[in-house]
């Protein structure tokens, strides 16, 4: 079991910054995220988009901001459980919480921070009648083990990087790869588009453009797909697997069943005091929370993280007094004992 002081659910920018503020108070953090890498939306949806309202940065790419936050929190040695979704929460007899992921990893902490942004990212599922009946029976939204497709017939749908990259990869694994896309143009990286075109010329990828998968047929398992082509009309394509790769969409997910007060898909917190939820010891910070006057901005989440950490300290260290200190005065001391501090001469010249 993983034990920590503050268990942070959501490794987006706000969850990451909470690690820094907690570290200043000598509190250890562990982060859980459904995505395979930290950064939340900033890494997953718009890493190359500039952000203009981070104080001190006239302009910063979302991906760069995440890289900088990772660097900033490194001295505080956060732990990570990535690629897993926080599934259940249980209050133990000693007053701490047990949080278990969908893969069964157990975490124990006296304080929980929910920094889940818009929620956990789930695959976007195309509106094909009965598709749910074939999930894990030939329909997969995420490729976990490419060997599953060895010597099988595969149809991939989508026009972005995932669809292109997996088509390229599976061209050497599957017996037949077809890529179905509604347009002739693709949204992915240019070299991936060119590689797919090259493999199509060599007959290793069967490109079906201007077309959409509209039906799934099979007896308990995918056997064929009904495809609608813009100009050539409808036809049936036999296959063993159908892999729709249309990106991810955020959903609040299992957190919604934890007994938290939720209004309009967001967790209600006490913003007059500490950003705590209706469950004592469970805080919610960033885009996942709501209160009168809430603004869903990264910088507001940073503020909420800072305030919440101060109150979490009191829960973790009851009876101990803590006085907020400035990093300009005390520097930053990591858990390895190394301190970053202004040089004495500089301090003296200011004084």
């Amino acid at each position: 079991m993983i034990k920590t002081d503050i268990l942070i659910i959501g490794a987006g920018p706000v969850g990451m910054f909470a690690v820094f503020e907690a570290g200043l108070l000598k509190l250890h953090c562990h982060l859980i995220d459904a995505l395979a890498q930290p950064g939340g939306q900033c890494s997953e949806i718009y890493p190359k988009k500039p952000i203009y309202d981070i104080p001190g940065y006239p302009e910063v790419l979302a991906g760069e901001l995440i890289d900088n936050l990772a660097e900033q929190i490194k001295p505080f040695e956060p732990g990570y459980t990535l690629g897993e979704r926080a599934e259940t929460i249980e209050k133990l007899e000693d007053g701490t919480f047990l949080v278990t992921t969908n893969k069964g990893t157990e975490h124990n902490a006296p304080v929980i921070f929910i920094a889940g942004g818009l929620g956990s990212f789930e695959p976007r599922k195309p509106p094909i009648p009965g598709i749910a009946n074939y999930e894990d029976n030939g329909v997969e939204y995420i490729i976990r083990d490419p060997e599953v497709y060895r010597d099988k017939r595969v149809v991939i749908a989508g026009g972005g990087d995932s669809a292109l990259d997996w088509s390229i990869f599976l061209a050497d694994v599957a017996s037949e790869v077809s890529l179905v896309h509604r347009r002739n143009e693709f949204r992915g990286a240019l070299d991936s588009v060119e590689k797919v075109a090259e493999l199509a010329k060599l007959g290793k990828i069967n490109m079906i453009t201007d077309a959409e998968v509209k039906e799934i047929h099979g007896n308990g398992k995918v056997e064929s797909l009904g495809i609608k082509h813009k100009t050539d009309g409808d036809f049936v394509k036999e296959t063993d697997h159908f892999i729709p790769l249309f990106g991810l969409s955020p959903k609040l997910g299992p957190i919604g069943d934890w007994g938290l007060e939720i209004v309009k898909n967001a967790i209600v917190v006490n913003n007059a005091l500490d950003y705590q939820t209706n469950i004592p010891g469970v805080f919610a910070i960033g885009d996942v929370n709501t209160y009168p006057g809430k603004l869903k901005l990264i910088l507001c989440g940073f503020h909420e993280a800072t305030i919440a950490v101060q109150y979490a300290y009191n829960i973790i260290n009851p009876g101990k007094r803590y006085v907020m200190k400035y990093t300009t005065v005390n520097g930053v001391t990591g858990f390895d004992g190394e301190t970053k501090k202004a040089e004495a001469a500089v301090v003296k010249s200011i004084g």
């Binding site: 939306q41 949806i45 988009k49 818009l118 929620g119 695959p123 976007r124 599922k125 990106g247 969409s249």
Partner: protein
């Protein structure tokens, strides 16, 4: 400094007569959010960067709208429930030219 009148059909089929300001740098997606015509978390997920299609709408009137940019075009290539008159609300700024515009919100994509 004037408002424009826009008819928006929500996902339940209810028609709303909306007055949208032309002097606040808003777009259709933001107007839909401001008037709470779709549940929180179901529209404008990417914040208005044409990187999700949660604000997809069907343009029902004959208004001349801003030309579709590459980001919007490519996003619609991957979205669901796309029709010939589909646009992303986040890419349509509220201007005086939109007076009388009629749109319908596309269904929410299930995930």
């Amino acid at each position: 400094m004037s408002d424009v009148n826009i008819k928006i059909t929500d996902r339940e089929g209810v028609v709303h007569d909306i007055q949208a300001p032309t002097d606040m740098a808003m777009n259709i997606m933001e107007v839909v959010r401001a008037y709470e015509l779709a549940p929180e978390g179901t529209i404008g997920i990417c914040g208005g960067m044409a990187m999700c299609a949660s604000c997809q709408c069907y343009v029902l009137s004959d208004h001349e709208l801003p030309e579709m940019g590459i980001d919007e075009d490519m996003m619609l290539a991957e979205a669901f429930y796309v029709e010939d008159n589909s646009r992303l609300g986040c890419q349509i700024a509220i201007t005086p030219e939109l007076e009388g515009l009629e749109i319908e919100l596309a269904p929410e994509s299930e995930s």
